[in-house]
């Protein structure tokens, strides 16, 4: 646990520096966009946040499956500790998208498939937290939370594919694994850096939050007393 603490602080500072450098690069070094002008620069917040918000849900689903199949208690703690962080990143994605919408679409909000499905993801995160907190028996709560997370994971492909299945205002993904990126390399490098930096920061938050969760749940065990 002490080694984890040390590694954790290294990861946090490296990611923070990486994110700040990418933001600085994206805001001041990269040129203006031909169509969107300066407003596109919000992608250095919007894209990492929405990318991470979906990835966190997938991480939760994997942890839930591990908990339900192998009964690993730690992964249940992980599910519970990811949920609030996922809600926050989804919220950041929604708000930054709204702010981006004003100069490019001329509106804060449209009832568009991608945006609505992201809002659903946000509501799902809140629902998961409230479901878990409504049970006083933590073991049952963990079980039900994991089931709901697994069932709710059907939403993730819907969010991902919404820009391709429905005709929406939201632009399709600029970076895909298979195709050449639709975004110029000058803008891509800081974007990539900001995604990695943001992911690192969020990972550290998840570690911190799950540490808190372990301390809270195992507070009566002797090894916790030795640690604290």
């Amino acid at each position: 646990m002490y080694q984890v603490d040390r590694a954790y602080s290294y990861i946090f500072y490296v990611s923070l520096v990486l994110y700040l450098v990418s933001i600085f690069w994206g805001l001041f070094v990269t040129p203006e966009d031909f169509v969107q002008g300066n407003s596109y620069r919000i992608i250095y917040l919007h894209v990492p946040a929405s990318f991470i918000s979906q990835s966190l849900y997938i991480a939760m689903a994997i942890a839930s499956a591990i908990f339900l199949i192998w009964k690993v208690k730690l992964s249940a703690y992980l599910v519970r500790s990811i949920a609030p962080i996922g809600a926050i990143t989804t919220f950041i994605a929604l708000i930054s998208g709204s702010i981006w919408g004003i100069p490019t679409w001329g509106t804060w909000w449209v009832w568009d498939a991608r945006i609505v499905s992201t809002l659903i993801l946000f509501i799902m995160y809140l629902g998961l937290i409230s479901l878990h907190d409504s049970f006083s028996n933590h073991e049952k709560a963990d079980k039900f939370l994991s089931i709901l997370v697994l069932v709710g994971s059907v939403n993730i492909p819907i969010i991902k594919m919404s820009v391709e299945w429905w005709s929406t205002l939201h632009q399709p993904a600029s970076i895909t694994i298979s195709d050449k990126p639709a975004i110029d390399l000058v803008m891509l490098y800081p974007l990539f850096g900001s995604i990695v930096g943001f992911a690192g920061i969020v990972a550290c938050l998840v570690i911190l939050s799950s540490k808190l969760q372990i301390l809270r749940r195992e507070r009566n065990k002797s090894w916790i007393k030795n640690y604290v």
């Binding site: 498939a113 499905s117 799902m124 629902g127 409230s130 479901l131 049952k140 079980k143 039900f144 069932v151």
Partner: protein, 215 residues
Amino acid sequence: MNIIKFELLKLRNKSRGWLGPILVFILIMVAFPLTVEISNKDLDQSFFAVLWIAVLLVMMLATEDIFLEDFNDGSLEQFAISDISFPYIISVKIFIYWLLIGVPISIIGSLFCLGFTNSGNLAINIFPILLITSYIFINVFSFGNALSLTKGSVLGTLVTLPLLLPLLIVLGKAVISINLNLNYLGFVALLLGVLSIIIFLIPLIISYIIRAHLE
């Protein structure tokens, strides 16, 4: 066969359980035009929005005590250890609820559709969609209800409600295609596909949850 008859009699005798949701549905459909202007030409446009939301909320209401009574009097525990497979009993239960609540609501809904839009074609086409949708809704809300079974609250159904929102998008698109005389069978096939997955998975998941509750 016995279990089907048993569940059917049990729900039929509890008239609050099946008549209540149907009455709420009728009341919503009767009351909503009063809030808009009577001469409004767009009434048939907003009709479908109200129809889907009404079906959604009424199904949420209908499944409110689907497992609660059986759980309290201990018969759910007996089902769980009986020879008949537990997921089968749950799927029968859900089917009976759909038969007594979902089917009447589908018929009434398509009658209201005829009344609001004056289009027999639309009313006939909307009927199978209503049938499939109400079955999907009942299944998913039963799952939500099983989650918060001991709580006796609507929290579980509220938590599962967001899962159904993508379905509402599909329903909206289906109505638009019927209105424009386009081929809407693709949407029906999509709904049927969703149903065919749900109809097998949900009883399995619910039986797992209820067993966890009974531990």
